[in-house]
Amino acid sequence: MKRFMTVILMGTIVLASLAVGPSVAAGKTTITFWHAMGAQLGKTLEALVEEFNRQSPDVYVKAEYQGNYGALSQKIVGSLVARKPPTMAQVYGNWAAEYISGNELVPIQKFVKGPNGLSQLEIDDIWDGLREGCVFDGVWYTMPFNKSVYVMVYNQTALQEAGIDGPPKNWQELVNAARALTVRDGDKIVRYGFALRPNIDIFACFFFNAGGVWLDSQGKVAVNSPAGVTALQFMTDLLSKYKVAYYVPGYIDADFGAGKVAMYLTTSPGLSYTEKSVAGKFEWSAAPLPYMDTKFRSTPVAGTDLAIFSRASAAEQEAAWKFIKWLVEPRQTARWAMGTSYIPVRKSAMHLEIMRKWFAEHPRDLQSLQQLRYIKYDPNMAAWNNIRGDVSEAVEKVFLGKATPKEALDAAAAKANARLK
């Protein structure tokens, strides 16, 4: 028995030493990269990391999957409190704002403008809206990475059957199309033309396209602006006046696939779920978000950016920058976009041969990219998480008929602005 235990113990020690073996790549600076990319996204990321490690003479990246975003956030906070953060990680804008409050991030600006930096041409090549979303108090802190925009998904077969040429471009066309696509059987609705979820992101898709901005010139939350009221009124009309929209608090792709909903809004990576739900039952595609007026054309952006932590040694920071710089080169960002349906962060990636070929085969993915010039992002402020809740609450209240758009948005703005102090 004793002998048996000894063997087990010895075996464990040998195995443990093997486990740390490959990470200490000879002569290379090893950096850790915490991310939340599972499944297909994770595979694409791992392939990129592997390629980087193969070709880099002096950097070895250890990419570590931490689970979903919630788990990633909790582990990063834990690691910061324990003063042992990774070298770099995927972070949301509002997380970064918290880390910056403790000087835990190195501004990416330091490397961009450094000896191994980016030329002005390369900087301008990153979509402006994405780059601006990474600036905190005038300092460029993080690098946009896995970003997505909202698009409108539509049932092409149903559209053709209803005699509509193409997807609706503006709100008027949206109402008309949604009416034409709604199928009634007596007083029962068999198919809804459109679907709406009661949250701030879907509201933003209309709010921005009515010319709304989250913060006014004094930095106050301005959801109750005329644009906000107009947007929410329009959404509510689709639901209860025209009765052409389906109210869905959860995901819509299953209802779309089942033919119960003919059009809805989703993020670009959401298209892969749509594909699965539809499973070839009908033709479908995606289009830019409908706008109230051409001059207001826009789309909300979602997703995380890459941050380098300041506790890492200078050599590790430099190594992390080399990896980030490589990752957002046009060729890599194109590969990332093709593998995940996130958007390529570089404008020039669109002109690459591989990307053009990809678009020829995947015309839907092109639709999200047509909106990249019109990106709008959430304010990078600590209170934003709670303010998101306030606005979502207002939207839900109005959809459920508990308040008018003006009442609900006034209340949300008052609540939100109390949080800004």
Partner: protein
């Protein structure tokens, strides 16, 4: 004590602490220290990273003005009232039935206890299917047979809290049943035999023998159920993943709000204050129960 005894006493004490050490260290490190540390950070406006602003009782003062928090308190109150009395009554009824000599007793007992040993997350995911809003949902399909229109159990503000209570009652049933069953079996059969000879009816036997002699068990279950219900979190988190917690926030309970203020909004001081308010509420309620209910408990 002579010196030899003293020596032995010291050695025994040292040995005792050595044996206690593994458990003690874990409890101090992972229970006691965090509890006191949470009290400390509840006095700060902090994200635990860079922001550490002393606010004294500021977080506590803010809580009393925070409509979202007050609503979460009300929701928790509804949940406690919705689960504890009904859950206990049902458990007692089932325990009473299971205390009879019926065929396949062991199977029934296992069946009732099974939900309790299944992880809450797994249960909650299964219940999202049961509660699905269209006719694909199991509950709607069942009710459809008796002509009830399909309801959006999880998405309708009218039903969300009901759905949460129903699932939680089901989940905790087994635990309460086992305790009641043990309590029932502790009551000596002679009492019933004597009562029968005196010609007591079933109801008066229950009221005069079962209920008083079962009271230590009832008291214990009441206490544990109330404390557990105030701390409900996991099923809420799985059934309604959004931070608003259920339609119109109807199922955002205190711990769900605490979690969101901490991990969502990075307000760890505020979240800790919520934790301490919850602790205070449970503590006071437990004392009140001890004074009011505890006095009526009949120990044999």
């Amino acid at each position: 004590m002579n010196s030899l005894e003293r020596k032995r006493y010291a050695r025994d004490t040292a040995a005792a602490y050595l044996y206690l050490a593994p458990a003690l260290i874990i409890i101090i490190l992972f229970n006691l220290f965090p509890a006191f540390y949470a009290l400390y950070i509840s006095l700060f406006d902090t994200n635990l990273i860079g922001r550490w602003n002393w606010v004294g009782f500021g977080n506590y003062m803010e809580l009393f003005r925070d409509v979202d928090f007050l609503k979460s308190l009300a929701n928790t109150g509804k949940y406690v009232l919705g689960t504890v009395p009904v859950g206990m009554a049902l458990a007692l009824l089932i325990a009473w039935l299971l205390n009879k000599p019926i065929r396949g007793l062991a199977t029934y007992r296992t069946a009732y206890f099974l939900p309790y040993v299944t992880p809450v997350v797994a249960i909650s995911i299964v219940w999202t299917w049961i509660y699905k809003e269209d006719t694909a949902g199991m509950l709607n399909a069942l009710l459809g047979f008796i002509g009830v229109e399909p309801q959006a159990w999880l998405l309708d503000p009218k039903w969300a809290m009901f759905a949460l209570c129903l699932m939680s009652i089901w989940r905790h049933m087994g635990y309460n049943v086992v305790l009641f069953l043990a309590g029932l079996q502790n009551i000596p059969a002679e009492y019933y035999e004597a009562a029968e000879i005196d010609g007591a009816s079933g109801w008066s036997m229950f009221a005069n023998i079962t209920w008083p002699l079962l009271s230590p068990t009832t008291y214990f279950i009441l206490m544990v159920s109330i404390i557990g219900s105030f701390q409900v979190f996991t099923q809420v988190y799985v059934l309604w993943p959004s931070a608003q917690g259920g339609p119109l926030g109807t199922t955002r309970v205190v711990v769900r709000y605490l979690y969101d203020q901490g991990w969502g909004a990075f307000r760890f001081g505020y979240a800790s204050a919520i934790g301490y308010i919850l602790f205070a509420i449970i503590f006071v309620l437990t004392l009140v129960q001890r004074d009011i209910v505890g006095k009526r408990v009949h120990y044999q």
